[in-house]
Amino acid sequence: MNTPEMMTPKNRAQQTMAHNMTLVGHHELDGFGGMGEGIAMQKTDDGRRILWMAHESAPKNFTGVDVTDPKSPRVIVQTELPHMKVRSNSLDVVGNLMVVANQTKEVNMKPAGFNVYDISIPEQPKLISHFDCSGPYSRGVHAVWFVDGKTVHIASGAPDFQPHNAKDDQIYRIIDISNPAMPVETGRWWYPGTRVGDTTPPPPRLPEQFDTGFRAHNTNVFPQHPNRAYVGYIDGGAIVLDISKPSDIKMVSHWNHSPPFNGFTHTVLPLFERGLWVVSDECVQDDGKDWPKLVWMVDARSDANPVPISTFPAPPYDAFAKRGGRFGAHNLHENLPLPVSFQSETLIIGTFFNAGVRVYDTSNPYQVEEVAYFVPGTPRLAPAGAVQLNDVFVDDRKLVYTMDRFGGGLYILEMNL
């Protein structure tokens, strides 16, 4: 349906936009298509490919979709949360083991931590253990990173961690699940000065409208450099930690664009062969109020002096900022060191909420080029009035799986690249 306003870019949210990407399949996930930022693939013992996704909010916990044939994705399991004040948001899969976060709406609630499941029979996930992070200052786990089959790196509260500011409640914690039935914490790190009792003074905060806290978001550790954790520390910027001794973690690199920018560093993705980091922000306010939220290219050859060398060309502000919901950077495909994951040092794929999923060629890190995008038309009954693509995963077949934050569910795309 077209109206006179259609010529105004912001009123074109219902239009699907595509450049070098083709929709292969779409699934609304049985009416519960509001998805978080956890998306992972399992190759089952009988050769099927199951895509696991964490929901953005209650009542659903996680959904497994058989994507062996990407043209006809099929829900094989969808699970419930115990109550409406908890969400999963994040998950990861290695082999037949899946780790799913639990984050509560308020402190001092349960379950706040993460669950470990045996998904050997994907239709019947079996709970092996729960790692409890609940406490008087904790909302539990917001994000998990689990790629080696034995260690879970989390952005989480802890029962014994009291922040000066309630917004600083998520710290970086390392949990050993070598014995999946008995998760054990082996290390933790927090931004100096954020904990009650720290000798360092608390860090200066961003202006109130952009103050989203000094807390961990993505806590990535790769086998190429197992002694380093690449952490997006929200208003604390991009941080690299030396985790060779989990009981004595040290910061080795720190880069923060804010101020003057508007905070919320989300992901630090190292490109090991090139000495670069790709750093993404997260947009957290509607209608472009916290614009610009960008993806940055950082020259990281020197631990001590990371230097930003470019930003990825952002989707056009005029076309998207006012079309509904959030507009700006968020999750990246993180080159998961797993056989089912696409890995590239040059092609970077990210989600940008109402500006869809976008693909960048970073061959020239000083002049990154946008080479493909797909912006689904507004999903049915979308509260934001536009799609809000939240997270993305690319498999070893080079198929792109991306999901909407509210209602649109799963979109499977082919890159024509």
């Binding site: 077209n2 074109r12 890159m415 024509n416 690249l417």
Partner: protein, 346 residues
């Protein structure tokens, strides 16, 4: 998964037709068709179309949106520039997104340069692909026009699909004659009828190759899904009795080669044909066995689209089949040229 170089490109259909063939009537109706959402139509003489009442809003000087979602774009400087601007404005979100482009050419224009533009302009070639050439033929006057002007013959020769227009002003026997005359020039074109410019947008699309992944679409593109096979000779007898058309200069030659080529041999042979008879080569289309692998080739005049390797053979037939639409070139000399190059390369 192997990259499909065609999948991301915006298909372009070209509508040609000699003066009076009904292009303006057709475009006027097409623009208002409900299925034209997400189609950009590039028009030469927008004043003639009379769409002012249907315009939703002007977005820029030369792009307008119609109530059905169709974008109407007038050519300002030249077509290349217009197509570049359309792509740039789409990419920047300044105009509504569109999935395909339909270009109206002027009645006197040779459509070949437009097609060549898509192949030779690097930027356009990266983002657009030719879907097909649709030629309108005036059923009442075409035989006379063919005898008097060179353009109609050229437009028919380049067509993938032909619509006979003004059929109500012609007779069945006259249309049968015309159909035969068309088949003599271009036996592979799909001939349909259209009255009063009534056309469904789906008749103008999906003509060309949409994917490098072989399938029925590939065979359709190669003209091998119709009952007529490559080696059949075109129907002849009626055409020879046509007034003033005793020996049509433009002919379709279908060549088949059973031995595989190396790419060097095939391209050397093509280059030789182009250098000797480039201006008489109107269109080339086919599938070539390059050391066992299927490669689709397409050219208009002396300009060739980049060769397209397919992921597999679309059928059990792994011979090279190439169709040449030529002017005053006979099959024997074309074949001997290929043989000579093959011998030299060997």
């Amino acid at each position: 998964m192997k990259r499909d170089p065609l999948a991301g490109k915006i298909p372009v259909s070209l509508i040609t037709g000699f003066l009076g063939s009904g292009k303006t009537t057709l475009i006027t109706r097409l623009l208002r068709h409900p299925d034209m959402n997400r189609v950009a139509v590039v028009i030469n003489e927008i004043g003639e179309i009379g769409i002012d009442n249907d315009l939703v809003k002007m977005s820029s000087e030369n792009v307008s949106l119609l109530a059905n979602g169709c974008l109407c774009c007038s050519v300002r400087t030249d077509l290349q520039e217009t197509l570049r601007e359309l792509f740039g404005e789409r990419r920047a979100g300044q105009i509504p997104d569109f999935d395909r482009v339909i270009i109206e050419t002027t009645g006197l224009a040779d459509p070949a340069p437009v097609i060549q533009t898509l192949a030779s302009d690097t930027m356009l070639g990266a983002h657009y692909r030719l879907d097909g050439v649709i030629t309108l033929v005036d059923a009442a006057n075409a035989l006379t026009q063919l005898a008097e002007f060179p353009e109609p013959e050229h437009q028919i020769a380049l067509a993938d699909r032909i619509f006979l227009t003004k059929c109500d002003l012609s007779t069945e026997p006259a249309m049968a004659e015309l159909t035969t005359a068309i088949a003599l020039i271009n036996p592979r074109a799909d001939i349909r009828r259209c009255s009063q410019g009534e056309i469904d947008p789906s008749d103008l699309i999906g003509i060309g190759l949409t994917s490098a992944r072989a399938g029925n679409d590939t065979l359709h593109f190669l003209g091998e899904l119709k009952s007529r096979s490559v080696d059949d000779t075109p129907p002849a007898y009626l055409g020879q009795r046509l007034p003033a058309r005793h020996d049509p200069a433009v002919k379709t030659l279908s060549l088949r080669f059973d031995a595989p080529f190396t790419w060097a041999t095939f391209s050397a042979a093509m280059e030789l044909v182009i250098s000797l008879r480039g201006k008489d080569l109107l269109r080339v289309k086919g599938i070539v066995n390059v050391e066992g692998n299927p490669v689709v080739v397409q050219g208009v005049g002396h300009v060739f689209h980049p060769p397209l390797p397919l992921d597999r053979w679309p059928s059990a037939d792994t011979g090279s089949r190439v169709v040449f639409i030529t002017r005053n070139i006979d099959e024997a000399s074309l074949r001997s040229l290929f043989q000579a190059v093959s011998l030299m390369q060997a």
